[in-house]
Amino acid sequence: MEKSNFESTQEIFDMWLKTYEATFGRIVEMPAMGPTRERSEKMMKGFSLFAELSSTWMDSNVNFQSVFMEAMRRVREKTANEMEGEINPEKYKEFYRIWIETYSETFKEFLKSGHFASDMGKFMSYFMEFQKFNREMLEENYLKPMNLPTKTEIDEINKELYSLKKKVKELDRVIKELSLTNPSNKDEIL
């Protein structure tokens, strides 16, 4: 596959990342002090999470860009071979057919590769971590001080509700079984 122009962007990004890691990245990872120590340390983690997310996003993007370039190259090759003469609407349709088929096939090859799966897996993993961090920060710094319910608290209630429902269903089942084995005690059991 052809080298995409996007790789130059990645080179600049890599330079930025190296500089960040050597300078600001070290500062934000310093142990915090003082009464807001815990909160500050948590907040600072956001910077390194964002740097990791950006880095995996860049890797995925470069790979995607390369596939686009390859698809474009194949379209160019096919249209040069298959389309000749005057350009008219029927030719546009033919161009569309070649374009959609070539792009679909080229991307299918890429999407099937372990390379894409691993890139996507990494990106999703960092993305979820980053989103979770943002939500935790929102809860810690806004919702809790405002005395508003948080997602974490709602999840706790949902878990409690789930356990209770399960227990009630189990008890219902036992009662039903008992009343079936001894119908005369049905009212007593209920």
Binding site: P89, K112, M128, K132
Partner: protein, 387 residues
């Protein structure tokens, strides 16, 4: 050149006119009644199309990831209607739309809870000890688990495009699933959004599913001014398109813990086919499946490749087992032209002799109470959202 341009514009214009006044494209219109509910799960009974249906009722279990009405998309493309017309007494589970309170539901709750209670309800209504379980897609995987855990309640098992062996490189979802950190996804979302899964499905063929499909719709619009049936055909084209479009994007969110277990134990560890999957406190042993089995697949299935379904027949201990492969795709098997012509008739043909009660004649009258005509009149015509 100018003419060709005008025709294309005319197609687009006519298509847009139809969209501005969209026709009724109701889905799931086969008459039915809800006979049992538990949390968000509804057990739906379709009103039989014959006076005396086959004795053994059929419970259809569809996947959690999309809505069950793909099996009853429209009257001329309805697996359900076809089964009713063939004389079966059909039930289906509607899983509903999970929300926050369902986050902690596990596969155990679905299989040993909802499916088991639905089976018990049908047994109670029919007065039989066993019924036919007809699992579709992920619902088929759940049905296989259920049949292995409760073989005494199942007379016949039919699986349609259902994965049981997840260790294959043939389907993109199987390849991608291995690299996903499902814990992080569930821990963040809790209830995994349907749109998240949809994005994954669209990514399996992005250009065709996000561009070509829509171009294709307008390409199909006809502009014959001297043909009186043209408008009707256009309306039908738009209706068919919108029904499918509605189904594709009507994606319920997923109960987080079920999603986590399904992904880890099935897609990543492939425990089901190895007889190592634990549901509740019991290990699922596929050898406990000894009832007649019909395993149906689509040859060009890009979501559940044949390699994912075929091993089921070797994993079970049933002596009466059959495998059918149709030259169609994952969705085509429900709504494609072959579905009504080949798939449903072949399934019915297999099921009929196995739906007769020994020594009790071929069919049983439908449940007493209201007369059939009355029941049909009073039943809900399950139009799933008019538009």
């Amino acid at each position: 050149m100018k003419e060709a341009n005008l025709i294309d514009f005319e197609k687009f214009k006519r298509g847009m006119e139809l969209f501005l006044e969209p026709p009724d494209f109701s889905v799931g219109t086969t008459p039915s009644e809800i006979i049992f509910t538990e949390d968000k799960m509804k057990l739906i009974h379709y009103i039989p199309a014959v006076e005396k249906p086959y004795a053994v009722p059929v419970l259809v279990v569809y996947a959690l990831v999309n809505r069950y009405y793909i099996l009853d998309l429209q009257p001329d493309k309805s697996v359900i209607k076809k089964l009713l017309d063939e004389g079966f007494d059909v039930y289906i589970i509607d899983w509903g739309y999970p929300s926050g309170t369902d986050r902690y539901l596990t596969i155990d709750d679905y299989v040993n809870g909802y499916i088991n209670n639905a089976v018990d309800k049908i047994k109670e209504r029919s007065g039989l000890d066993t019924i036919t379980l007809f699992g579709v897609c992920q619902g088929g995987t759940f049905s296989v688990m259920y049949a292995a855990l409760h073989p005494e309640k199942i007379k016949n098992l039919v699986t349609l495009v259902s994965p049981v062996n997840f260790d294959t490189d043939k389907g993109l979802l199987h390849i991608w699933a291995r690299s996903l950190d499902v814990d992080k996804i569930v821990d963040y979302y809790g209830i995994v959004p349907g749109d998240f899964l949809n994005a994954g499905f669209l990514l399996t063929d992005p250009f065709r599913l996000m561009i070509d499909k829509y171009v294709g719709l307008f390409e199909k619009i006809e502009c014959e001014t001297d043909d009186g049936q043209c408008e009707l055909r256009n309306e039908e084209t738009v209706k068919n398109f919108l029904r499918m479009e509605k189904w594709i994007f009507d994606s319920p969110d997923q109960a987080g813990e079920t999603f986590r277990q399904f992904f880890k134990d099935c897609y990543q560890k492939n425990l089901l086919i190895k007889n190592k999957m634990v549901i509740g406190k019991t290990t699922v042993d596929l050898k406990k499946i000894s009832m007649p089995l019909l395993n149906v697949m689509a040859e060009f299935d890009h979501l559940v490749p044949n390699e994912a379904s075929k091993p089921l027949n070797d994993a079970v201990s049933s002596s009466d087992k059959e495998m059918l492969v149709f030259p169609t795709g994952h969705i085509g098997i429900f709504v494609g032209s072959r579905s009504q012509k080949d798939v449903c008739p072949r399934i019915s043909e297999w099921l009929k002799p196995r739906s007769i009660l020994n020594g009790e004649g071929e069919k049983r009258p439908i449940q007493t109470g209201k007369k059939r005509s009355e029941r049909k009149r009073n039943s809900r015509t399950s139009r799933v959202n008019k538009k």
